[in-house]
Symmetry: C2
Subunit: 105 residues, 2 copies
């Protein structure tokens, strides 16, 4: 991961109970995202109630736009809206500062 | 929540198995944060393995700096580093664009 500035997409979502192929496609989308130009990394967490947050990191806004419009990703987005998510929010952000902590072994 | 631009603090963390008062203090910090000037809202998720993401939203960088240096929050940060977290990352970001989806009822 480079020093800032770079970009983050914060995706907060609520999953429906429906799980018709969700996991497989989510995994495929993660793999596909990681192959896109400008992709830097991703953090993702979902709890047992289906509440989830994903932050993906990108070098620039143009890379984010390209990934948003990628054909397979577009299909996955439509499937997400038609059943897997009851709601979601997407925030596109410019990362300005990063701090890290690792406990001593 | 206002229209962008505003600011987000993305906090990704790994909890240790130790839970000596963590939940109570985390709840107290959330309550305290929500009373600070410039606070707009928060999203938080933690899974069963202890992996967590929190995004808090603020009107401006100065509000984030004030909260970072707030006395009780400083104490909580020190407790977090001395036992509750094995690692964490903090990203301070400028939110530039927001999109939302809600499924029809």
């Amino acid at each position: 991961m480079p020093d800032p500035p770079y970009y983050a997409v914060i995706f907060t979502s609520q999953r429906t109970p429906s799980d018709d192929g969700y996991e497989a496609l989510a995994e495929r989308m993660l793999e596909l995202a990681s192959q896109q130009p400008g992709f830097l990394g991703v953090d993702a967490v979902r709890d047992a109630s289906g509440r989830g947050m994903t932050a993906s990191y990108w070098t620039d806004l143009e890379s984010i736009r390209r990934w948003r419009n990628q054909a397979q990703h577009r299909m996955a987005q439509a499937l997400g809206r038609s059943g897997w998510y009851s709601e979601y929010e997407i925030r596109i952000c410019r990362v300005e500062e990063v701090r890290r902590f690792h406990a001593a072994e």
